[in-house]
């Protein structure tokens, strides 16, 4: 893994956390 790939992955991890929170909130709005 190159340095650029590592930095990109670090950013994507933060994005994945934000996406996960949004996805969870959306799923809750659908089933609640």
């Amino acid at each position: 893994m190159t340095d650029v790939q590592r930095r990109t992955l670090n950013v994507l991890v933060v994005v994945a956390i934000a996406v996960g929170i949004a996805l969870g909130a959306w799923l809750w709005s659908v089933i609640a």
């Binding site: 994507l12 956390i17 996960g20 969870g24 809750w28 609640a32």
Partner: protein
């Protein structure tokens, strides 16, 4: 690892992170809906007090709780190919779970739903216990992480952090946290680690034996990667 396989590993790992976070959010919101009606719900049977559960609460709590394990599994499976620091992220799920659910307890303990009197100790006490269970390990890990990064991998907290990390990391990716930047076998990083080790050895922070062991470990990892 080739770029194609690396990107598939990225995708699997990020799916695990998103799935775990989504399930944590579902559990958090499902719990809040139950807290808002007094903290418990049950119906059916002659001796069960009737307090219907909010729509979706049971599904959110069950699916969220089991889904958390799925997300953690993906993070460990794919993260162990990426290196220790990524697989270690899964351990932050524990404080994230207990701190967020503890927040619900504390908030509803201080501002109980209609019919309750503040402070509601039945909520506040579990809230405090949850925060101790969440913040305790988080602070310990932060302390150990810092100790390891600052060149003290033998500090007891750093040893625990390294053991936790090794417990979920493939052997080829194992390396002391103090030298973690070399864990992908990048030759430049390996040289940097060796130079850092030499400085620690020269300053007397590492004994001859510790220096030899750490050096051998970095070189072994470099060969395995």
């Amino acid at each position: 690892m080739g770029n194609g396989r690396l990107y598939r590993t990225f995708a699997g790992y990020l799916t695990g992170v998103a799935l775990g976070t989504a399930c944590l959010t579902l559990v958090f919101l499902g719990m809040r809906s139950v807290m808002a009606i007094g903290g418990a719900c049950a119906e059916g049977g002659p001796y069960v007090p009737v307090q219907p559960c909010p729509d979706g609460a049971a599904l959110a709590l069950f699916a969220g709780a089991f889904g958390l394990f799925g997300g953690a599994g993906l993070m460990i499976w794919f993260g162990s190919r990426l290196g220790g620091r990524y697989v270690f992220l899964v351990f932050l799920g524990w404080p994230a779970l207990f701190i967020s659910l503890g927040f619900n307890f504390l908030q509803y303990g201080l501002n109980p739903p209609p019919g309750g009197a503040a402070p509601e100790w039945g909520f506040l006490i579990p809230g405090v216990i949850f925060w101790i269970m969440g913040f305790g390990p988080l602070l310990f890990v932060a302390w150990g992480w810092r100790a390891a990064r600052s060149g003290r991998p033998t500090a007891s907290s750093a040893v625990v952090v390294n053991r936790l990390r090794d417990s979920v990391t493939l052997p080829a990716n194992r390396v002391e946290l103090g030298g973690s930047s070399a864990d992908d076998g990048d030759p430049d990083l390996v040289v940097e680690e060796l130079e850092r080790l030499s400085r620690l050895h020269a300053s007397g922070s590492l004994t001859d034996d510790e220096f030899a062991a750490a050096k051998a470990r970095i070189l072994t990892t470099e060969r395995l990667a």
